[in-house]
């Protein structure tokens, strides 16, 4: 039996394909090509030169920014996961399904406000004369410089990623078959051992995905290091801004962007393997 070509399912696919093609694949390819162009007299000229790659990757400043960004993204993934976990445990195991739905809704509310606005709010809160230092002063501590530091940037990163990490973790913890937890207790596992030996392994997928999303969002975040971290030392995102501003060096910024994409691709692949991978 020959089947007639049915255009119906393809029609629904088209908008996404066009969108992704026009605004993701093509720009990406263009950016890759751009990284080989040359800038002469503040004007870009098509070329196929390795000049930009050699200059950027041969520069200590690039690698300083690279390792700093990587380190911060790892730390944000770890810290966010650790802070989120007790909250997620509570949401997953001590709330009714209705309560949990409401709590998850509340976790989405922060996204209603632009992240930039939230970063500005932290500038006020963390300022030398801000409420945090006022409180600490009340017990005879400080004032501490919290803005324009790695600490300030980390506050920004956590503001950005924590709700999402809690959502991922809660989702995976709540999905654990409750009889597995009962079976662990039934076989002699104390509540603490059940957590380590059963709950964490059973929720592995969501826990890893939460940490990876925190990593990815932190790795590419510009607002936190710029407005709260003081942009010195620069992260890769700040390096991109600086490079484009200095002498129209878009091709060199493209080199940084491609390095970032390759890194995220490697991390995401490894993480998905860890999240869904099985032994045996």
């Amino acid at each position: 039996m020959t089947r007639k070509f049915d255009p119906y399912p393809h029609v629904w696919r088209l908008p996404l394909l066009i969108w992704q093609g026009a605004f993701f694949v093509v720009p990406l390819l263009f950016m890759a090509a751009l990284s080989f162009w040359l800038v002469k007299n503040y004007r870009m000229e098509p070329a196929f030169a390795f000049d930009n790659w050699e200059r950027m990757l041969g520069r200590g400043a690039f690698w300083d920014a690279y390792w700093l960004t990587l380190f911060r993204a790892c730390m944000a993934g770890i810290i966010a996961s650790l802070i989120a976990f007790p909250a997620s445990l509570f949401l997953a195991f001590h709330l009714s399904p209705q309560g949990r739905r409401f709590a998850l809704l509340c976790l989405i509310v922060p996204f209603f406000t632009s992240f930039l606005v939230r970063a500005y709010a932290w500038q006020v809160i963390l300022a030398e004369s801000g409420p945090v230092n006022a409180l600490l002063g009340g017990i005879g501590l400080g004032p501490y410089t919290m803005l324009n530091s790695g600490f300030g940037a980390m506050i920004g990163y956590l503001t950005l990623v924590l709700p999402l990490v809690v959502i991922f973790q809660t989702w995976s913890l709540a999905a654990i078959d409750k009889s597995l937890i009962e079976a662990a207790a039934n076989l002699g596992a104390s509540p603490a051992r059940t957590l380590v030996s059963v709950i964490i392994p059973a929720a592995k997928t969501g826990l890893v995905l939460g940490a990876v999303f925190a990593f990815i969002m932190t790795f590419g975040d510009f607002v936190s290091p710029f407005y709260l971290g003081g942009s010195k030392p620069p992260t890769l995102t700040i390096l991109i801004i600086d490079t484009t501003k200095s002498g129209q060096q878009w091709p060199r910024a493209a080199v940084v962007a491609i390095m970032m994409i390759l890194t995220l691709f490697a991390v995401a692949t490894a993480a998905l393997k860890a999240a869904y991978g099985r032994r045996g």
Partner: protein, 353 residues
């Protein structure tokens, strides 16, 4: 069957369990003896699973006392009990291999790695799972998973094993095989099995004693034969299945019923209800001597060992009769055709008497 020689292993004393306003178990009194295979049976919501979960410490009784080996266990958390349970869903750990699942209980008890691996392997061998130890759970068949769950529960050598409808997810032929595995295992180990099921055939095939529960209460306790042939109440008679119930007033060894008079020599005068099992009913076209009623044929159902014929009496009661294939062939019943259903007056069981 192991007759109770010493004090019971488990006793429930006036145990009551409520979830909010819903009462799952009402003033339960039950002794479970060492080495017996006891089945808790009843329709869903009868409190059998709650009873089992209270024994494992997964639910706390609202009032009353549960003792195991003479010790009151009400406040002992599940992980400090030695009451392994085989779940209906099996609850095997999907992130652990077969052998890691089996040795889990030993790991939690701090048994050294070498020893616990050896003991787990012995159980895998016993359950005919040798060669599967490194497999993942989702690479096993239903029957194999069942045996892993049994091995995991038994590896710590407990005094009793709790089973919550463990065979309900298996194919019919596997159920029969696993029944054999379970009864053999229970005899070999000599430990107590507490088996929860809604299946009359599973309970009657395996258990030394059967506890029929309904609405959170015990309706009847007894050996399978006793319950099958001597149900104490209409609830038990109906739940056990393939029973016909007839009510009436007895006077001088004869019961007056809506279907006419039937001889009932064993009963005292007064109101009575009798149970006639389907395999003790004879179907005939002519009125036989003795106890008989008239009913019209509805349908037949092939039931493996015989054929169950369904009838309806004039007042709408359903009657069942078990016949052989050759009997059915000679009767050639048609829907609506009237027959005489008769039984030996001595084989009728008088309920509540």
């Amino acid at each position: 069957m192991a007759e109770p020689t010493t004090e019971p292993l488990v006793s429930f004393r006036s145990v009551h369990k409520a979830f909010g306003t819903y009462v799952a178990v009402k003033s339960l009194d039950l002794d479970i003896h060492r080495g017996e295979f006891i089945a808790l049976m009843g329709p869903s919501g009868c409190g059998k699973t709650t009873t089992l979960r209270m024994l494992a410490g997964l639910e706390a009784p609202t009032s009353g006392a549960i003792t195991i080996g003479g010790k009151v266990m009400n406040d002992v958390p599940p992980h400090q009990r030695d009451t392994p349970l085989v779940w209906q869903s099996l609850a095997l750990f999907p992130f652990l291999s077969v052998v890691e699942n089996v040795e889990f209980g030993l790991r939690m008890r701090g048994v050294a790695p070498k020893e616990r691996r050896d003991r787990a392997m012995l159980w895998l061998e016993r359950m005919q799972l040798k060669g599967f130890e490194t497999r993942r759970i989702d690479q096993l068949s239903g029957g194999q998973r069942q045996r892993v769950a049994l091995a995991r529960s038994l590896v710590t050598e407990p005094e009793m094993l709790l089973l919550d409808e463990p065979l309900s997810a298996l194919d019919a032929h596997l159920v029969i095989r696993m029944q054999g595995v379970l009864t053999r295992l229970q005899k070999e180990l000599g430990i107590t099995f507490v088996y929860v099921t809604h299946s009359q055939s599973e309970a009657f095939a395996m258990a030394d004693r059967v506890v029929i529960m309904g609405n959170g209460e015990i309706a009847q306790i007894g050996r399978p034969q006793e319950i099958f042939r001597g149900p104490k109440s209409r609830f038990v008679a109906e739940f056990v299945g393939r029973n016909n119930i007839l009510g009436g007033t007895v006077k001088g060894g004869v019961m007056e019923t809506a279907q006419g008079a039937v001889p009932l020599p064993a009963a005292r005068d007064g109101k009575a209800e009798i149970v006639v099992a389907a395999d003790r009913v004879t179907v005939s076209g002519e009125r036989p001597a003795g106890a008989a009623i008239r009913a019209s044929f509805l349908s037949e159902e092939f039931a493996g060992t015989g054929i169950i014929c369904y009838f309806e009496t004039a007042d709408g009661a359903e009657w069942k009769a078990q016949v052989t294939e050759s009997q059915l062939a000679s009767l050639q019943p048609e829907s609506g055709q009237e027959f005489w259903l008769s039984w030996n007056a001595d084989s009728a069981h008088v309920m509540g008497g």
